[in-house]
């Protein structure tokens, strides 16, 4: 019971921990309203304007608004029948205009089986609109 309690506490502690933010702009810290926020999620590795954002290391990337070059690679588990390693990855290069005060999340979706298709896209958290890439129809 104690162990379960400990685990629950640990889970709570980790879920309440502040997000680890990668400040990818120069100068003093700015308020969120002046910044664009990228949320890579656990599946994505990014390179933002050529700089790596390793998979799972950062919860969010804070950028100045404007046009940015983003390379993103999604990694996902897959059947060994289609990916012998048990993992698949798909990537693309996106050029995207990011607005101040907006948070953007990376998404992927795929079909299954041999020759499966993968879609990668970035959504604006404010209205769910796709700002780059292609969403699975």
């Amino acid at each position: 019971m104690l162990a379960l309690g400990g685990l629950s506490l640990a889970a709570c502690a980790s879920s309440n921990a502040p997000p680890v933010a990668y400040k990818l702009y120069p100068g003093p810290v700015r308020p969120a309203a002046e910044l664009a926020e990228l949320k890579p999620g656990v599946n994505f590795a990014l390179a933002v304007d050529g700089l790596k954002v390793n998979q799972g290391e950062w919860d969010e990337v804070l950028l100045l608004p404007g046009r940015h070059q983003i390379d993103c690679v999604a990694e996902y588990g897959a059947s060994v029948m289609v990916e012998p390693s048990g993992f698949g990855h798909a990537g693309t290069h996106l050029e995207v205009d990011l607005a101040a005060g907006h948070a953007y999340a990376f998404h992927y979706a795929r079909t299954y089986g041999q020759g499966y298709r993968v879609w990668l896209w970035i959504e604006d958290g404010a209205d769910g609109s796709v700002v780059a890439g292609a969403k699975k129809p």
């Binding site: 100068g27 050529g50 954002v53 070059q69 990855h89 798909a90 990537g91 990668l120």
Partner: protein, 417 residues
């Protein structure tokens, strides 16, 4: 019933039996080799805090090895060193910025390179089918480079290469025993040790403030070298360079030309060949095997010129009665562009020809219209598709190039007579 607590080894044994596999990790010894600091491409080397865990782990090693060394927060240091951005090594080492370095709050900056790893040898086989089976031995080598900057003096100190060799051994007969090297831990310890040694050499027995930043090569042209993109492109190129059109490919490409265009090819067979790989390991190609010409470095290692030549001649005639000669292959370039879910290939060809009157003709063709739009993002699958379609695309581009020469140089002998 009285429960008896299991000790550590009993627990491990139970876990191993349940999992069917006993993992034995070990930490290989890292070797540290001092090297002169390499400032090559300093304007493209960007100092970042991106590899957060790497910096954290190395920082921990440093403070464990020498508690008198105080770590300065990497983000705080980056912002202090580069108040207006431009996080490059060149900016850091710019003499005009020395006062900023001195006032940054740290005395030394350790710059950590990108770890690299490669398998050097693999013997045996190991797998899982109704239990583990087989025996495997793999050796790998990991390395990382570091540089140290004296921020007070504004100068580079020597750097170091840290290298670790590890061996994975797996033995399976239903149950498995796997010995695994902890390469990352080994490198981090080696880096920590190298930094502490270098700092202590310069400042023995004193409290020292040290900051850590990672370096990345972030010139946008070099973006393909980024880890993920590199893997993707390697996968693409593995298939895409298999350019070896068959006679059927040539005929398919030929059929896409108009009747008048097709007429140009009658009586104008062309042959050329490939030499190499040469002693230096590179593939060179030359035109018309029978006549020695200057070797041209192909710049590629999988372009099967011999197959292209064979396919072309089998489709359009024999080189022995050729009235047209390709005297020199100036360049051949194929570009693969991946963008937004589409992959296109583009050929740029440039050759020198000799016309039936012995006149030299230069010709080049660029064709961006050829290629493949792939509406999927499974790169492996897409690359296979492109690989299959590349041959025809190359064949058609080449035919167009030849056609342009025929038209320009011999307008009156359009049918090759």
């Amino acid at each position: 019933m009285k429960l008896t607590p299991l000790n550590g080894s009993s627990c491990a044994a139970v876990c191993a039996l349940l999992a069917g596999c006993l993992m034995v990790p070990y930490k290989p010894k890292a070797q540290v080799t001092p090297v002169a600091a390499d400032l090559y491409d300093a304007e493209h080397i960007v100092l970042t805090i991106g590899p957060r865990r790497l910096l954290h782990d190395i920082g921990k090693e440093i403070t464990n090895l020498d508690p008198q060394i105080q770590l300065v927060d990497s983000l705080t240091l980056r912002d202090a060193l580069f108040p207006s951005g431009g996080w490059t090594l060149a900016t850091l080492l710019n003499e005009a910025n020395r006062p900023i370095l001195a006032a940054s709050g740290a005395e030394y900056l350790a710059i950590i390179g990108q770890p690299s790893s490669e398998k050097t040898k693999s013997v045996g086989a190991f797998g899982f089918y109704m239990g583990f089976a087989g025996a495997l031995k793999e050796t790998e080598q990991s390395s990382i480079a570091i540089m140290l900057v004296d921020l007070k003096q504004g100068r580079m100190l020597n750097g170091a290469d840290i290298r670790a060799d590890g061996t994975t051994v797996a033995l399976g007969a239903f149950y498995a025993l796997i010995v695994v090297p902890r390469m990352d831990a080994s490198l981090h310890e080696g880096v920590g040790s190298a930094i502490v040694q270098a700092i202590r050499k310069a400042r023995p027995n004193a409290s020292v403030k040290v900051g850590l930043l990672a370096m990345e090569n972030a010139s946008y042209e070099a973006a393909e070298a980024k880890e993920a993109a590199e893997a993707r492109h390697a996968e693409l190129l593995k298939y895409a360079w298999m350019v070896a059109p068959t006679p059927e490919d040539w005929q398919a490409a030929f059929s896409r030309l108009g009747p008048e265009e097709q007429a140009h090819f009658k009586g104008a067979p062309i042959s050329f060949g490939v030499s190499g790989p040469a002693a230096d390991g590179k593939i060179y190609y030359r035109v018309n095997d029978a006549r020695p010409t200057d070797r041209i470095e192909s710049g590629v290692d999988r372009l099967d010129i011999a197959a292209i030549c064979d396919g072309f001649n089998r489709s359009f005639g024999n080189g022995s009665n050729s009235r047209w000669e390709i005297t020199e292959a100036l360049s051949f370039e194929k570009r693969v562009n991946v963008s937004g879910g589409a992959m296109t290939t583009r050929f740029e060809l440039s050759w020198n020809f000799r016309d039936p009157n012995g006149r030299a003709v230069s010709a080049s063709a660029t064709d961006a219209g050829l290629g493949t739009k792939v509406g999927i993002l499974s790169w492996k699958h897409a690359a296979k598709q492109v690989g299959a379609e590349t041959n025809q695309a190359f064949a058609l581009t080449f035919l167009k190039l030849v056609l342009s020469v025929l038209r320009e140089s011999a307008p009156t002998s359009a049918n090759g007579q």
